[in-house]
């Protein structure tokens, strides 16, 4: 599958698109069942997800928490705003810094929208992260969380082709 495409469609938004070689029911399972979520949603190498409480009904609360090998922790919590089986999940997201020095990542909740669509056994997933304010996105962008990652090359055209 082609690597994830990241773009910034507006000044408060980040959009990530990726396709998966699997039918939508399996992708949906991997996105909503904690035992499966834990296996891939590990954020960074060397991190695990000791807390993964998920909700798949409107108004339900979720709680995710990650822990590094050296005992640092951070997490996200939020509420499900919209859930449409095999097609869409919308939820709020509040960053809980735990003991991690990742910067503030913004105080107000962001709105995360994940849409799923299947064509010929390939599932396209689009994730939009809408920050409450430009300042919040700024905080998330300046965080040290993303440092030291192994980066894949992204061409100028790819970045700007939003």
């Amino acid at each position: 599958m082609k690597p994830a495409e990241v773009s910034t469609p507006s000044d408060r938004e980040v959009l990530v698109k990726r396709s998966f070689d699997a039918p939508v029911n399996l992708v949906w399972q991997a996105y909503t069942e904690p035992a499966l979520m834990r296996r891939w949603l590990t954020a960074m190498p060397g991190w695990t997800m000791p807390v993964c409480e998920m909700a798949t009904h409107v108004g339900g609360k979720y709680r995710w928490r990650w822990r590094s090998e050296d005992g640092q922790e951070f997490g996200f919590t939020g509420e499900m705003l919209e859930v449409a089986l095999h097609s869409k999940i919308v939820h709020t997201q509040i960053y809980d810094p735990g003991g991690c020095d990742f910067g503030s990542m913004g105080g107000e909740p962001s709105i995360i929208t994940v849409t799923f669509s299947e064509t010929n056994g390939i599932t396209n997933v689009a994730t939009s992260i809408k920050f409450a304010s430009q300042a919040d996105r700024d905080a998330a962008m300046s965080t040290g969380m993303t440092d030291g990652m192994e980066m894949s090359y992204q061409s100028l055209d790819g970045v700007l082709a939003a």
Partner: protein, 113 residues
């Protein structure tokens, strides 16, 4: 607003992204860009002002046509950030690819039974 944030705001507009892509191939004057985008000169000029104040382009004070030039350093800060974000997501997605392969196999085995 920080410069990086300003750069992202500037790049949120499709015409301004188009201008940046054009300037990546070399300098251009306002009239070159007017011709290329079929927009009025004041519209192009206002887009250039936004790009210039975000530090993404600079305009020569020497030549009368004041050609615009891409400031690659600023643009690199933007692409670097996007690459970092992309790296984290792609790392997760590669693990998801592997998990989905496993789920597909399990489903096949289940059907055979």
């Amino acid at each position: 607003m920080t410069r990086l944030d300003q750069a992202f705001a500037a790049l949120a507009d499709p015409t301004r992204r188009g201008i940046v892509v054009r300037l990546a191939r070399g300098e251009a004057s306002v009239s070159d860009l007017v011709g290329l985008f079929s927009l009025t000169q004041p519209t192009i000029s206002s887009h250039l002002k936004v790009l210039e104040s975000a530090g993404l382009i600079s305009r020569s004070r020497v030549a009368q046509s004041r050609p615009c030039k891409l400031e690659t350093k600023r643009l690199k800060a933007v692409t670097d950030w996007l690459e970092k974000v992309q790296g984290i997501w792609e790392g997760n997605y590669k693990r998801l690819d592997a998990l989905l392969d496993e789920l597909k196999q399990a489903q096949k085995t289940e059907r055979k039974k």
